[in-house]
């Protein structure tokens, strides 16, 4: 090793840092490169949950993940949230490691179960993230009042979760996920337990909230219409091992705002059937063409 080499290495690492910083400023919300996840099952058996996932979610973009149950949708979301770690590949969130993004609280999360703390009032549940991060009481109250209004639960702040319907509880969970105005929202079948009517209503509200906050969203669902109605892009996963089978662009012409009449539009129907074809792996769907 020569001295010159040493110097050039130092210079390299300096420029690397610079470009890293530059990247971070406009890094995509989520970037997954060849991400895979293998679970160690019982008695040494291994479950390949995800394989070769290449996916970029731009800032402010709404991406739906769809696929048959057990295909690894939740797993992928948990990897992004750093609730689990990938066994291969590289995953960055806003240009940082998933762990750093979690520690920096760059995302808000809503699970399939509302996961409210039953011994806290609705308002206290919404304020939980703020309280954990030592936000002052006055500011907390102000924010939770805002959020209660946003999710239409102004009159229920002092109720306990078990006094609310499933749909209302889920709205509280969404308000909680939004509490710190994250730039990335992770949602795992948040409307899975709701009836169709409430579900469509909540979809409309979520679309509205997202348009207002400009957050990127990774939204797990197994409902095709839901995925299409909400998303800019629908990522279709194949059954085990979970791979990206196709990515469908949903191009609603002109206005970006998602309102009920979109459900009647031609684009909606054509996108729904496109996703359905990929999902059922029919002959005319090109499994790899859209990948990457």
């Amino acid at each position: 090793m020569t001295g010159q080499d040493g110097i050039s290495t130092v210079q390299d690492s300096k420029t690397d840092q610079k470009t890293d910083a530059a990247h971070a400023a406009d890094a995509p919300a989520v970037a997954a490169v060849n991400v895979g996840k293998v679970f160690d099952g019982k008695r040494g058996a291994q479950v390949v949950a995800l394989e070769d996932i290449n996916l970029t979610v731009a800032r402010g973009e709404f991406v739906s993940l769809i696929g048959p149950s057990g295909c690894g949708k939740s797993t992928l979301m948990r990897l992004i949230a750093d609730l689990d770690q990938p066994t291969s590949g590289e995953l960055t969130v806003f240009g940082k490691s998933a762990q750093q993004a979690r520690l920096d609280q760059d995302y808000g999360i809503a699970f399939q179960q509302a996961g409210l703390l039953p011994w806290r009032t609705v308002r206290q549940n919404i304020e939980l993230p703020l309280q954990l991060h030592k936000v002052g009481k006055a500011e907390r109250t102000e924010r939770s009042t805002e959020l209660l209004k946003l999710v239409g639960l102004t009159d229920f702040g002092d109720n306990f979760p078990d006094q609310l319907s499933g749909g209302m509880q889920q709205r509280v969970a969404i308000a909680r996920a939004l509490a710190e105005s994250p730039n990335l929202l992770l949602m795992d079948e948040p409307f899975g337990a709701l009836d169709e009517m409430t579900r469509e209503h909540m979809q409309g509200e979520l679309a509205h909230i997202c348009a207002e906050t400009g957050a990127a969203v990774v939204f797990v669902t197994h409902s095709i219409p839901e995925a299409v109605f909400l998303a800019d892009r629908v990522v279709v996963l194949s059954p085990r091992p979970g791979r990206i089978r196709a990515i469908v662009d949903v191009k609603f012409s002109g206005s970006v705002e998602r309102t009920e009449h979109l459900r009647e539009s031609d684009v909606f129907f054509s996108s729904v059937s496109e996703v359905r074809e990929h999902l059922h792996g029919s002959a005319d769907a090109n499994p790899l063409g859209v990948d990457n």
Binding site: D82, Y107, I109, F111, G115, L117, W119, R120, L132, F160
Partner: protein, 255 residues
């Protein structure tokens, strides 16, 4: 509303049973002419109880205070150690053997040994016995309660980058609270039993247990029974006090 109604309804059958038992007891003692040293009648015990109410009261205060110290010390230690055990697996594994042993060991059996360790004129040994009796059920129940945390709540705390202590305070302990109360409730009457029996083995004058042995030694069986009655009431008071706090706390927090 429902809970209150349920509680009153639950109290009636044992109350009836108790009254019937007392009545049969009275009839048997009178009918078969049973001697007081074998079994005094309920009215004789009641008579002695009210006649000696001031001494029963003052002795109850001594035993009651020892029990109270036992509940406080035992519960705090039990909860604290359970929290630590829930965090550190090796402590959990080590303690499970000790706790298993403590469950089969009648803790009052330690009383004579403990009297030797502390000055005979002090209540320390009795309070220590009560504390140990409280510690075991509180520890066991708390540890069980702390393991009830739902995975979604665990994920939630991790997602929000909560510290270990924040997680314990916001999720783990509140989840375990009903179990902790169950432990303390069971332990509260155990504390009184332990404190009373510990007095049988020595220590300073005063206390219901000492009074029972003294009265029995003087062949004053109705009086001995009056002190037994005092012990039963004391145990009941402890149990009901914890139950009341438990009901109040759990109702006010919504679930």
């Amino acid at each position: 509303m429902k809970a209150t109604f349920g509680a009153t309804k639950g109290i009636i059958p044992p109350l009836v049973l108790g009254l019937v038992t007392l009545l049969l007891w009275q009839l048997a003692v009178v009918g078969f002419d049973i001697k007081p040293f074998v079994l005094p009648s309920p009215t004789a015990i009641g008579g002695q109880f009210f006649e000696n109410l001031p001494t029963v009261w003052s002795n109850s205060l001594v035993t009651g205070f020892n029990s109270l110290v036992g509940v406080a010390v035992g519960a705090v230690l039990g909860i604290l150690l359970a929290v630590i055990a829930s965090l550190v697996r090796t402590i959990d594994e080590l303690s499970s053997a000790v706790v298993a042993a403590a469950m089969v060991l009648p803790i009052v059996a330690l009383a004579p040994v403990l009297y030797g360790m502390f000055s005979a004129s002090q209540q320390t040994a009795r309070q220590l016995v009560a504390s140990l009796a409280v510690f075991v059920p509180v520890y066991v129940n708390t540890l069980k309660g702390l393991r009830q945390v739902r995975p979604v709540h665990r994920d939630l705390m991790r997602a929000h980058a909560a510290t270990t202590w924040q997680t314990i305070g916001t999720v783990t302990l509140p989840t375990g609270l009903p179990f902790i109360f169950t432990g303390v409730r069971i332990a509260s009457s155990l504390a009184v039993i332990a404190a009373v029996i510990a007095e049988y083995f020595g220590g300073p004058i005063g206390g219901l247990g000492k009074s029972i042995t003294t009265a029995a030694a003087g062949s004053n069986y109705p009086l001995a029974w009056a002190y037994v009655l005092g012990s039963i009431i004391l145990g009941l008071v402890f149990y009901l006090a914890v139950l009341a706090v438990e009901r109040w706390v759990l109702r006010n927090r919504g679930s």
